[in-house]
Symmetry: C2
Subunit: 151 residues, 2 copies
Amino acid sequence: MPKDTLPGLTACNYAMLRRATRKLGQFYDDVQAPSGLKATQQGLLYQIHIGDEPAMGAIAAALVMDLSALGHTLKPLIRDGFVETFADPDDRRIKRVRLTRQGLIKLDEAMKLWQVAQQRFEDVVGKEKAERLRAVLDDISALDFDLPPAA
Amino acid sequence: MPKDTLPGLTACNYAMLRRATRKLGQFYDDVQAPSGLKATQQGLLYQIHIGDEPAMGAIAAALVMDLSALGHTLKPLIRDGFVETFADPDDRRIKRVRLTRQGLIKLDEAMKLWQVAQQRFEDVVGKEKAERLRAVLDDISALDFDLPPAA
DNA sequence: TTGATTTAGTGGCATATACCACTTTCGACG
DNA sequence: CGTCGAAAGTGGTATATGCCACTAAATCAA
């Protein structure tokens, strides 16, 4: 097959997803920069906030994120005093996470900027379209793609 | 506002995008693992392949990726002998990129696995829905979200 | 009760990505 | 010509993420 007729990268669902994620990351991060938080960090703080002192595993599951990745991502937030952890008294394997007072203040600050970015996104893309997009993405995160065993 | 009534993370376009990206990354990477390439690397090799010895800047632009990020990402592929670079003879600032013979062979191998993952995705999500999703994501990557100056 | 199994996290290592400061080259202009 | 600003990459630093091997704690079984 001559190269000229090969399909572009646009045929790959994953590549498109990554590319759009980079794009939005650049945008959201830029808008939220004044808060000092990356958009990823703001999202993580928010996820912790809406939970009830969630366990690390619970957070990781909610975000479809590897547990160890969550641990790594949490480190700068702990270092900067926005988040703290403590062992669950009933099961010492479990480590629970919560925002500090500072973390809550910082989250408030970042959320205001988030709203700006979010609003701008919806203005440019369209409210309906954005809503549908989020719904599809939400679905995908919950689906089971495991290939049936070749047996 | 009581925490219980706060909207979930599902309201954020960027968070949804990231979460779905993690999900698909785990899936595509898993399927493509036997080739030894991550799905991101396969995508990058493909992008280079369909270009005509593209310049780094051209690749970065096509992928909406930071130029320095591309440089970093390329390193393991160069180290492993899949990709090589050379200065453009007409403009020594420009560095062009191409696949090595080995890179081409490896790409072929990875593409076969990619097709499996891609097909599975479309089976689970639906062909039409996947197509619409890719189209929306493609649009987003091309949009301009810059906020008009507050002036 | 005790030994095997499972569950929850940690730490190390590797890739993915971004931003910034810096260097090298070009090209435009006086 | 020189000079100067723009263009293309590089390297450093930092976060984001994943997998694997390992440890500690709880559970299940015999």
